[in-house]
Protein backbone atom coordinates (compact mmCIF):
# COMPACT_ATOMS: atom_id res chain seq x y z
CA UNK A 1 0.00 0.00 0.00
CA UNK A 2 1.55 3.27 -1.13
CA UNK A 3 0.02 6.68 -0.42
CA UNK A 4 0.89 9.67 -2.62
CA UNK A 5 0.84 13.06 -0.90
CA UNK A 6 0.46 16.06 -3.19
CA UNK A 7 2.46 19.18 -2.36
CA UNK A 8 1.06 22.47 -3.62
CA UNK A 9 2.96 25.72 -3.08
CA UNK A 10 1.72 26.56 0.42
CA UNK A 11 0.83 23.05 1.62
CA UNK A 12 2.10 22.56 5.16
CA UNK A 13 0.76 19.23 6.46
CA UNK A 14 2.41 16.90 3.94
CA UNK A 15 5.11 15.70 6.36
CA UNK A 16 2.52 14.94 9.03
CA UNK A 17 0.66 12.74 6.53
CA UNK A 18 3.83 10.91 5.48
CA UNK A 19 4.75 10.35 9.14
CA UNK A 20 1.24 9.11 9.95
CA UNK A 21 1.13 6.68 7.05
CA UNK A 22 4.64 5.35 7.76
CA UNK A 23 3.80 5.04 11.44
CA UNK A 24 0.87 2.81 10.47
CA UNK A 25 3.18 0.60 8.43
CA UNK A 26 2.47 1.86 4.91
CA UNK A 27 4.64 3.47 2.28
CA UNK A 28 4.20 7.03 1.15
CA UNK A 29 5.77 9.41 -1.32
CA UNK A 30 5.49 13.06 -2.27
CA UNK A 31 3.92 14.26 -5.52
CA UNK A 32 4.82 17.77 -6.67
CA UNK A 33 1.79 19.72 -7.91
CA UNK A 34 3.44 20.09 -11.32
CA UNK A 35 3.79 16.31 -11.76
CA UNK A 36 1.32 14.41 -13.88
CA UNK A 37 2.24 10.81 -13.12
CA UNK A 38 0.30 9.11 -10.36
CA UNK A 39 1.30 5.57 -11.31
CA UNK A 40 2.62 3.58 -8.38
CA UNK A 41 0.22 5.15 -5.89
CA UNK A 42 -2.78 3.31 -4.45
CA UNK A 43 -4.32 6.35 -2.74
CA UNK A 44 -3.87 10.10 -3.07
CA UNK A 45 -3.84 12.56 -0.18
CA UNK A 46 -4.38 16.31 -0.66
CA UNK A 47 -2.95 17.64 2.61
CA UNK A 48 -3.76 20.71 4.64
CA UNK A 49 -2.13 24.10 4.34
CA UNK A 50 -2.66 27.27 2.38
CA UNK A 51 -2.19 26.27 -1.27
CA UNK A 52 -1.42 29.37 -3.34
CA UNK A 53 -1.93 31.47 -0.23
CA UNK A 54 -5.68 30.77 -0.37
CA UNK A 55 -5.85 33.65 -2.89
CA UNK A 56 -9.24 34.30 -4.56
CA UNK A 57 -10.80 31.47 -2.51
CA UNK A 58 -9.28 28.52 -0.65
CA UNK A 59 -8.40 25.91 -3.27
CA UNK A 60 -9.49 28.07 -6.23
CA UNK A 61 -6.03 28.25 -7.82
CA UNK A 62 -4.75 24.86 -6.63
CA UNK A 63 -7.51 23.05 -8.51
CA UNK A 64 -5.88 24.14 -11.78
CA UNK A 65 -2.44 22.76 -10.86
CA UNK A 66 -1.21 20.28 -13.51
CA UNK A 67 -1.54 17.35 -11.09
CA UNK A 68 -5.26 17.99 -10.60
CA UNK A 69 -6.26 16.69 -14.04
CA UNK A 70 -4.65 13.39 -13.04
CA UNK A 71 -6.31 13.50 -9.63
CA UNK A 72 -9.68 13.83 -11.42
CA UNK A 73 -8.83 10.80 -13.60
CA UNK A 74 -7.73 8.88 -10.48
CA UNK A 75 -11.12 9.67 -8.92
CA UNK A 76 -13.00 8.66 -12.05
CA UNK A 77 -11.18 5.32 -11.99
CA UNK A 78 -12.72 4.74 -8.55
CA UNK A 79 -9.39 4.95 -6.74
CA UNK A 80 -9.23 6.46 -3.24
CA UNK A 81 -8.59 10.16 -2.65
CA UNK A 82 -8.71 12.01 0.65
CA UNK A 83 -8.65 15.80 1.02
CA UNK A 84 -7.81 17.02 4.51
CA UNK A 85 -8.70 20.60 5.48
CA UNK A 86 -7.24 22.68 2.61
CA UNK A 87 -7.35 19.44 0.59
CA UNK A 88 -11.11 19.26 1.21
CA UNK A 89 -11.44 22.85 0.00
CA UNK A 90 -9.48 21.95 -3.16
CA UNK A 91 -11.70 18.90 -3.83
CA UNK A 92 -14.80 21.10 -3.48
CA UNK A 93 -13.39 23.76 -5.83
CA UNK A 94 -12.52 20.99 -8.30
CA UNK A 95 -16.15 19.77 -8.11
CA UNK A 96 -14.99 16.32 -7.03
CA UNK A 97 -17.14 16.93 -3.95
CA UNK A 98 -20.33 19.01 -3.83
CA UNK A 99 -20.76 22.26 -1.90
CA UNK A 100 -18.23 24.78 -0.66
CA UNK A 101 -16.43 25.86 2.52
CA UNK A 102 -17.07 29.37 3.80
CA UNK A 103 -15.46 31.48 6.49
CA UNK A 104 -16.12 30.16 10.01
CA UNK A 105 -19.08 31.67 11.79
CA UNK A 106 -17.58 33.97 14.43
CA UNK A 107 -14.68 34.77 12.07
CA UNK A 108 -12.18 32.99 14.31
CA UNK A 109 -9.43 30.69 13.13
CA UNK A 110 -10.25 27.48 15.02
CA UNK A 111 -7.47 25.31 16.41
CA UNK A 112 -8.65 22.67 18.87
CA UNK A 113 -9.59 19.02 19.23
CA UNK A 114 -13.24 18.27 18.51
CA UNK A 115 -15.57 15.28 18.72
CA UNK A 116 -16.75 13.74 15.47
CA UNK A 117 -19.53 11.20 15.03
CA UNK A 118 -19.08 8.55 12.35
CA UNK A 119 -22.27 8.34 10.30
CA UNK A 120 -23.68 5.42 8.33
CA UNK A 121 -21.99 6.16 5.00
CA UNK A 122 -20.79 4.63 1.75
CA UNK A 123 -17.30 6.07 2.25
CA UNK A 124 -14.39 3.71 1.52
CA UNK A 125 -12.26 5.65 4.02
CA UNK A 126 -14.18 4.78 7.17
CA UNK A 127 -14.97 1.38 8.58
CA UNK A 128 -16.22 1.92 12.13
CA UNK A 129 -19.76 1.40 13.47
CA UNK A 130 -22.08 4.37 12.95
CA UNK A 131 -22.20 6.45 16.12
CA UNK A 132 -18.52 5.94 16.97
CA UNK A 133 -17.11 9.17 18.41
CA UNK A 134 -13.61 10.18 17.31
CA UNK A 135 -11.46 12.93 18.82
CA UNK A 136 -9.58 14.73 16.05
CA UNK A 137 -8.09 18.25 15.87
CA UNK A 138 -9.37 20.98 13.58
CA UNK A 139 -7.21 23.86 12.40
CA UNK A 140 -8.97 26.12 9.92
CA UNK A 141 -10.50 29.49 9.08
CA UNK A 142 -12.83 28.34 6.28
CA UNK A 143 -14.53 25.13 7.39
CA UNK A 144 -18.12 26.27 7.34
CA UNK A 145 -19.59 23.72 4.92
CA UNK A 146 -22.48 24.85 2.76
CA UNK A 147 -24.50 23.38 -0.09
CA UNK A 148 -27.99 23.98 -1.46
CA UNK A 149 -31.01 22.18 0.00
CA UNK A 150 -31.28 19.79 -2.93
CA UNK A 151 -27.62 18.74 -2.61
CA UNK A 152 -28.04 18.23 1.15
CA UNK A 153 -31.00 15.92 0.53
CA UNK A 154 -28.96 13.97 -2.02
CA UNK A 155 -26.03 13.68 0.41
CA UNK A 156 -28.37 12.30 3.07
CA UNK A 157 -30.31 9.97 0.74
CA UNK A 158 -27.10 8.53 -0.68
CA UNK A 159 -25.32 8.27 2.73
CA UNK A 160 -22.51 10.60 1.67
CA UNK A 161 -22.26 12.42 5.00
CA UNK A 162 -19.35 10.62 6.64
CA UNK A 163 -18.65 12.69 9.77
CA UNK A 164 -20.60 15.21 11.82
CA UNK A 165 -19.34 17.47 14.59
CA UNK A 166 -20.89 16.33 17.88
CA UNK A 167 -20.63 16.56 21.66
CA UNK A 168 -18.24 14.24 23.52
CA UNK A 169 -21.04 11.71 24.11
CA UNK A 170 -21.95 11.62 20.40
CA UNK A 171 -25.07 13.74 20.75
CA UNK A 172 -25.82 16.94 18.88
CA UNK A 173 -26.23 20.13 20.92
CA UNK A 174 -29.45 22.12 20.48
CA UNK A 175 -28.62 24.56 17.69
CA UNK A 176 -25.84 22.32 16.39
CA UNK A 177 -22.38 21.18 17.44
CA UNK A 178 -20.29 22.55 14.56
CA UNK A 179 -17.76 25.04 15.93
CA UNK A 180 -17.51 26.65 12.49
CA UNK A 181 -21.23 26.90 11.66
CA UNK A 182 -21.16 24.06 9.11
CA UNK A 183 -24.53 23.13 7.63
CA UNK A 184 -26.10 20.15 9.40
CA UNK A 185 -22.89 19.81 11.50
CA UNK A 186 -21.10 18.36 8.47
CA UNK A 187 -17.37 17.72 9.06
CA UNK A 188 -16.73 15.32 6.17
CA UNK A 189 -18.47 14.07 3.03
CA UNK A 190 -17.71 11.66 0.22
CA UNK A 191 -18.68 11.52 -3.44
CA UNK A 192 -21.45 9.30 -4.84
CA UNK A 193 -19.03 6.45 -5.37
CA UNK A 194 -17.53 6.63 -1.88
CA UNK A 195 -13.91 6.79 -3.07
CA UNK A 196 -13.35 10.56 -2.76
CA UNK A 197 -13.49 11.84 0.82
CA UNK A 198 -13.04 15.36 2.15
CA UNK A 199 -12.94 16.41 5.80
CA UNK A 200 -11.92 19.53 7.71
CA UNK A 201 -10.36 17.77 10.76
CA UNK A 202 -6.77 16.45 10.64
CA UNK A 203 -6.69 12.66 11.25
CA UNK A 204 -2.96 12.54 10.37
CA UNK A 205 -2.19 14.41 13.60
CA UNK A 206 -3.66 11.72 15.84
CA UNK A 207 -2.22 8.36 14.80
CA UNK A 208 0.63 8.30 17.31
CA UNK A 209 -0.02 8.41 21.10
CA UNK A 210 2.94 10.82 21.29
CA UNK A 211 0.82 13.50 19.63
CA UNK A 212 -2.16 13.05 21.93
CA UNK A 213 -4.34 10.33 20.47
CA UNK A 214 -4.82 7.62 17.89
CA UNK A 215 -8.38 8.22 16.68
CA UNK A 216 -7.15 9.41 13.28
CA UNK A 217 -5.64 6.06 12.36
CA UNK A 218 -8.97 4.49 11.38
CA UNK A 219 -9.16 6.38 8.07
CA UNK A 220 -5.76 5.22 6.83
CA UNK A 221 -6.21 1.63 8.03
CA UNK A 222 -9.71 1.45 6.48
CA UNK A 223 -8.49 2.55 3.08
CA UNK A 224 -5.47 0.22 3.22
CA UNK A 225 -7.83 -2.67 3.95
CA UNK A 226 -10.17 -1.54 1.17
CA UNK A 227 -7.33 -1.34 -1.37
CA UNK A 228 -6.11 -4.81 -0.34
CA UNK A 229 -9.63 -6.23 -0.76
CA UNK A 230 -10.05 -4.65 -4.21
CA UNK A 231 -6.66 -6.05 -5.28
CA UNK A 232 -7.41 -9.60 -4.12
Amino acid sequence: MRFGVVIFPGSNCEQDVIHAVNHLGHEAGYIWHGDTDLSGFDAIVLPGGFAYGDYIRCGAVARFSPVMAEVVRFAEAGKPIIGICNGFQILAEAHLLPGALLRNVGLKFLCKTVSLRAEESICDWLDVPAGTVLRVPINHNEGNYICDAETLERLKANSQIVLRYCESDGSTAPGGSAPNGALDDIAGICNERGNVFGLMPHPERVVDPLSGGTDGAVFFTAIAKHVAEVAS
Binding site: I56, R57, L102, V105, I146
Partner: protein, 80 residues
Protein backbone atom coordinates in the same frame (compact mmCIF):
# COMPACT_ATOMS: atom_id res chain seq x y z
CA UNK B 1 -6.74 47.76 -23.41
CA UNK B 2 -10.32 47.41 -22.22
CA UNK B 3 -11.19 47.62 -18.57
CA UNK B 4 -13.87 45.72 -16.65
CA UNK B 5 -14.91 45.84 -13.03
CA UNK B 6 -16.28 42.69 -11.44
CA UNK B 7 -18.29 42.57 -8.23
CA UNK B 8 -18.48 39.17 -6.53
CA UNK B 9 -21.05 38.65 -3.79
CA UNK B 10 -22.52 35.67 -1.97
CA UNK B 11 -25.67 34.23 -3.48
CA UNK B 12 -28.92 34.96 -1.74
CA UNK B 13 -29.31 32.65 1.25
CA UNK B 14 -25.57 32.04 1.69
CA UNK B 15 -24.52 33.26 5.12
CA UNK B 16 -21.84 35.95 4.97
CA UNK B 17 -19.98 35.96 8.33
CA UNK B 18 -17.90 39.14 7.72
CA UNK B 19 -21.05 40.97 6.51
CA UNK B 20 -23.05 39.83 9.54
CA UNK B 21 -20.23 40.93 11.87
CA UNK B 22 -20.00 44.38 10.26
CA UNK B 23 -23.80 44.66 10.47
CA UNK B 24 -23.81 43.94 14.21
CA UNK B 25 -20.82 46.25 14.76
CA UNK B 26 -22.57 49.16 13.02
CA UNK B 27 -25.72 48.55 15.04
CA UNK B 28 -23.64 48.43 18.23
CA UNK B 29 -22.11 51.78 17.26
CA UNK B 30 -25.59 53.25 17.31
CA UNK B 31 -26.45 53.05 13.61
CA UNK B 32 -29.78 51.42 14.37
CA UNK B 33 -31.00 52.12 10.82
CA UNK B 34 -28.64 49.48 9.44
CA UNK B 35 -30.71 46.51 8.26
CA UNK B 36 -28.13 44.44 6.40
CA UNK B 37 -24.46 44.47 5.38
CA UNK B 38 -23.07 42.22 2.65
CA UNK B 39 -19.37 42.08 1.99
CA UNK B 40 -18.00 40.90 -1.33
CA UNK B 41 -15.03 41.26 -3.65
CA UNK B 42 -14.18 43.92 -6.20
CA UNK B 43 -11.93 42.94 -9.09
CA UNK B 44 -10.40 45.20 -11.78
CA UNK B 45 -9.66 43.41 -15.02
CA UNK B 46 -7.67 44.80 -17.93
CA UNK B 47 -7.86 42.77 -21.13
CA UNK B 48 -6.96 43.14 -24.79
CA UNK B 49 -9.41 45.21 -26.84
CA UNK B 50 -12.12 43.14 -28.48
CA UNK B 51 -12.28 40.52 -25.69
CA UNK B 52 -15.84 39.19 -25.73
CA UNK B 53 -18.24 39.42 -22.80
CA UNK B 54 -18.63 35.64 -23.01
CA UNK B 55 -14.92 35.24 -22.35
CA UNK B 56 -15.06 37.52 -19.31
CA UNK B 57 -18.00 35.49 -17.98
CA UNK B 58 -16.00 32.32 -18.55
CA UNK B 59 -13.15 33.75 -16.44
CA UNK B 60 -15.64 34.52 -13.68
CA UNK B 61 -17.26 31.08 -13.77
CA UNK B 62 -13.94 29.25 -13.86
CA UNK B 63 -11.81 31.15 -11.38
CA UNK B 64 -12.85 34.58 -10.15
CA UNK B 65 -16.14 33.44 -8.61
CA UNK B 66 -17.46 30.10 -7.38
CA UNK B 67 -20.92 29.66 -8.93
CA UNK B 68 -21.84 27.25 -6.11
CA UNK B 69 -21.87 30.09 -3.57
CA UNK B 70 -21.32 33.37 -5.41
CA UNK B 71 -22.96 35.67 -7.94
CA UNK B 72 -21.03 38.25 -9.93
CA UNK B 73 -21.77 41.40 -11.87
CA UNK B 74 -19.54 42.66 -14.69
CA UNK B 75 -19.34 46.35 -15.52
CA UNK B 76 -17.60 47.69 -18.59
CA UNK B 77 -15.51 50.68 -17.63
CA UNK B 78 -13.98 51.40 -21.02
CA UNK B 79 -10.39 52.04 -22.06
CA UNK B 80 -7.69 51.31 -19.53
Amino acid sequence: MARFEIYVTYKKGIFDPPGATAERALQNLGYSEVAQVKIGKYIQLEVADGTSAARIREMCDKLLANPVIEDYRIETVGEA
